[in-house]
Amino acid sequence: MTTLARSKNLPSKLGSLAALVLLGSFAAFDAAATESKSFVMSSFWHAANNLEGDCPGGLNPRYKEQWAKNLADLGYSPREVGEIMERNVNGDALDYEHNELMRIMVNRGRINGQAVNAYAHPVAVKDPHLKSWNGKLAYGFDLDGKGVTPSSFEDPESHEKGIKHELARVLGCNEQFRSRLREGGAAWQFLWTAVKESAPVWTITVTGDDLSKDGPITIQFGRGMEGVKRNGNGTARADMTYRADPDPRFANNIYKGKIENGVISVTEFGHLFLIQEPLLYPRFTLDKFHARMQMNKNGVLEILIAGYQPIDEIYHWCGSANICADTNFCAEPPGLYHLMRKFADYDPDPQAGQNRAISATYYLEAVPAYLVDVQKGR
């Protein structure tokens, strides 16, 4: 049975939360559960912490410069490169049929000497050796539990050491991705803006005996049936009602966790599976899933989620946009794919030994909401 009720008094750091939903399904996980609070995601991007000077070799080239380099790598002479660029570089990137440069860039992959789509087959493109990020402070968690290692980071806010977050190295020296945590880089802003109105919301539900106190809780991630609702000023609207997506694929996204000093965190590191807008992440999976969240003074829940993510899933939004990605938000996708292979740190291929997943941390914002189980009624 699903019931709806008001919240008890909440701890000061969670005090502005008023939305409360008791979902009967939680009884299965915590028989003593007496209250739940739900939230819907209002922002989503990579948890970056880019500072001046953290790319000692400079940033990776912008797309026009990269295209010229790619032409040279393909064997074009400097004069030919100049002429091709001159003739085509300002052309319409979508006009594949009439733009010689676009055709060359798209078909620059080589498999057995045959030209193939570079975006669909990034390993068929010669590694352009993009520069990687060299910062020391990165958001995230000690995903493997091995503590400080030569490649680990320190979290800039929790100051936990031994942070595993290799995706930060891959993206950190590309202008489109560089940002601070709560800003979101240009690429992510572009992607999120494109998907946020149409993508069904991700939902987060926290359940516990008494959410006003420190103690054990359960945290469930899921999806709603509606897109995020907004205020007149464009910000996500709090306290709206959403229908929970009953898709059984989300049923296992439930984790043990705790509240400690107003900080909610996952303590049982399982597997996260979610679905997002096809433009971004049709599938979004994280192994050894970690999460930490806290309410800010504006009543917005700030969330870090992290885990090991298949690099092919990350590459999807970059590669599927084909050459449009170059000009819009992701210069040199095949080069990024090579970087991800280089820094992948999890799930080695049993045959080749190549790691297939990379440690990654994402920053989410969420607002209080009512989540209703449509299958069980109100």
Binding site: L4, G232, T241
Partner: protein, 556 residues
């Protein structure tokens, strides 16, 4: 060609303006008469839209803007008998008239609208034009056209058709002239030819029909009411009672009740209500629009659909919500429609123990009577006194400083109660604030946008107060106190009488109003019964002598 068309248009506008100027003078004189004189009221925007829909169908787009309403004695309906019309306002009415006429006689609509076809579409056809204008004009004027009126409008159609070489364009110009005339824009109050033994006059049958239909339905008389007027049935009490009974049982009664309460509660303020989007991000134009609809749905459902006790609107937990409103009220509400589909209205009952009880806790009251960036116990108390209980609160003196009240971040005064207490230290302020603040403080759990809160500046809000020496602890108890206060029931009667008459109640009518109040109480405070009592009273149709004199003078 262009010149002739221009001349024809000027002829049409000129005709309208000339008659308008006469009528405006007449209306002005009538408004100046203060003692029971019937007034000629300008159609409100809603009434205008209702009439156009009745006559030409719902597809017609008005596409213009109206001159602002004037609130007199707390009612726009009273103000509608006092308003003038600027040249710009008249131009707007004429533009709307042209647009409506052109849509009504468009190629697609004319077959339905016209009872006849012209002999030639390129030439005048006076017979066909007369047939149409007589019918449409009768509906729009809420009475049969006089011969001279019809003759002028047929002539305008004729001239227009000759000038434009198009029968329909000519007819459209004439219809625009009808729609721009004071006989349409104002509700006339023609009186019967002979006074009663006291020297007062009663409205004639068509004026009675118009008064009844706008009072009960907020629109023009329907065919049955017009027929009753034509047959003389409205000249007898029995005939009037029969029509009132029929009208009260119509679903259109809800429209009349909505219009009355929208006016009484001054909900027009919601259409221009702005809030600080940083402090109150949820409050936008959609919430303001829905808040108006919520309170009107709540009231009509209670007093019309359920025939409930009027006073219970201050204590009822039942209402209607959209998802947008539900988010402000912080309650769940499933909208079982596809993404992007329009929000739907759903009945909702606030749970026992919930602080939302009655219309005083609705956004339409607490947000409307607040400042853009903070709540206002003073404004809320003032609205309670003036709007709900018909009591007068003096305006603040000119030189009063509001610094303490306005500074919500002053660490010395963390709550509105503390700030107002400090403000009342000024004896000049204390007298009037004592009338308002103790009531308004009971609603302090609702911030400037109407959202619930328990604290202000991290300080627990004290919502205790008193109304006319009756103490209460919170908004729920305040609702009960307001419900039981005799001024509450008395006020709605006063307002409804003034609303129906279009003017304040006169001294000589007070005895009648007292009787109406007693009947209201005896009938269990039922709004439809109250409307019936008022509408069946001879006083409802009576016009004192001064109006008669004015009309005679004007006619001469």
């Amino acid at each position: 060609m262009k010149r002739r068309l221009l001349l024809s248009t000027i002829l049409a506008i000129g005709g309208a303006l000339t008659t308008f100027a006469d009528a405006r003078a007449e209306a002005g004189q009538a408004a100046a008469a203060s003692d029971g004189a019937a007034v000629m009221r300008r159609l409100t925007p809603e009434q205008y839209a209702n009439v156009i829909e009745e006559v030409f169908g719902p597809a017609i787009e008005l596409g213009g803007r109206f001159e602002p309403d004037l609130r007199v004695d707390s009612l726009n309906e009273v103000g509608s008998g006092r308003v003038s019309m600027s040249a710009t306002g008249m131009a707007q009415y004429y533009l709307m008239a042209r647009s409506i006429a052109s849509q009504a006689l468009s190629e697609k609509s004319r077959k339905v609208m016209l009872p006849c076809a012209p002999a030639s579409a390129q030439e005048p056809d006076d017979a066909c034009a007369a047939q149409f204008l007589n019918h449409a004009g009768g509906l729009l004027f809420r009475r049969p056209l006089t011969e001279s009126e019809l003759s002028i409008y047929v002539k305008t159609a004729h001239e227009g058709a000759v000038t434009t070489k198009d029968f329909y364009t000519g007819l459209s110009l004439s219809l625009a002239s009808v729609l721009s005339s004071p006989q349409f824009l104002y509700r006339q109050t023609t009186v019967a030819s002979r006074p009663d033994h006291n020297g007062a006059y009663t409205l004639d049958a068509y004026a009675k029909a118009t008064r009844l239909s706008f009072f009960l339905w907020n629109s023009m008389p329907d065919a049955a009411l017009m027929a009753a007027a034509e047959k003389g049935e409205l000249n007898s009490d029995k005939g009037v009672a029969k029509q009132i009974s029929r009208m009260l049982s119509s679903p259109r009664l809800s429209e009349g009740v909505r219009a009355f309460f929208a006016d009484m509660l001054q909900l027009d303020g919601l259409s221009t209500l702005a809030k600080d989007s940083v402090l109150y991000p949820k409050f936008d134009t959609i919430v303001a629009r829905d808040a108006r609809e919520q309170i009107l749905r709540t009231i009509t459902n209670h007093v019309v659909d359920n025939r409930g006790d009027y006073r219970d609107i201050f204590t009822a937990r039942t209402t209607f919500l959209t998802q947008q409103l539900a988010s402000v009220y912080q309650v769940p509400l499933v909208n079982d429609v596809p993404n992007g589909a329009a929000d739907t209205w759903q009945p909702y009952t606030f749970a026992a123990g919930d602080p939302r009880v009655g219309i005083l806790t609705q956004i339409a009251f607490v947000a409307l009577n607040s400042q853009p960036g903070r709540s206002s116990p003073t404004l809320r108390g003032k609205a309670l006194r003036e709007v709900i209980m018909c009591q007068k609160v003096p305006a603040p003196p000119a030189e009063v400083k509001f610094d303490i009240v306005q500074d919500t971040s002053n660490p010395e005064y963390k709550t509105a109660r503390a700030r107002l207490t400090a403000h009342r230290a000024n004896p000049v302020c204390a007298g009037c604030h004592k009338l308002m603040d103790p009531m308004g403080l009971g609603l302090e759990n609702f911030d400037g946008s109407g959202a619930f809160r328990t604290k202000e500046n991290e300080t627990v809000i004290d919502t205790s107060g008193e109304l006319d020496n009756v103490k209460f602890n919170n908004a729920v108890e305040l609702g009960k106190v307001v419900r039981e206060n005799p001024a509450t029931a008395s006020c709605v009667v006063d307002r409804m009488v003034a609303y129906g008459l279009g003017r304040p109640v006169t001294r000589t009518e007070m005895a009648w109003v007292d009787l109406v109040k007693r009947a209201f109480a005896k009938d269990g405070y039922k709004i439809p019964d109250l409307m019936q009592t008022i509408a069946r009273s001879p006083e409802f149709f009576r016009s004192e002598r001064r109006t008669t004199e004015t009309q005679k003078a004007s006619a001469n």
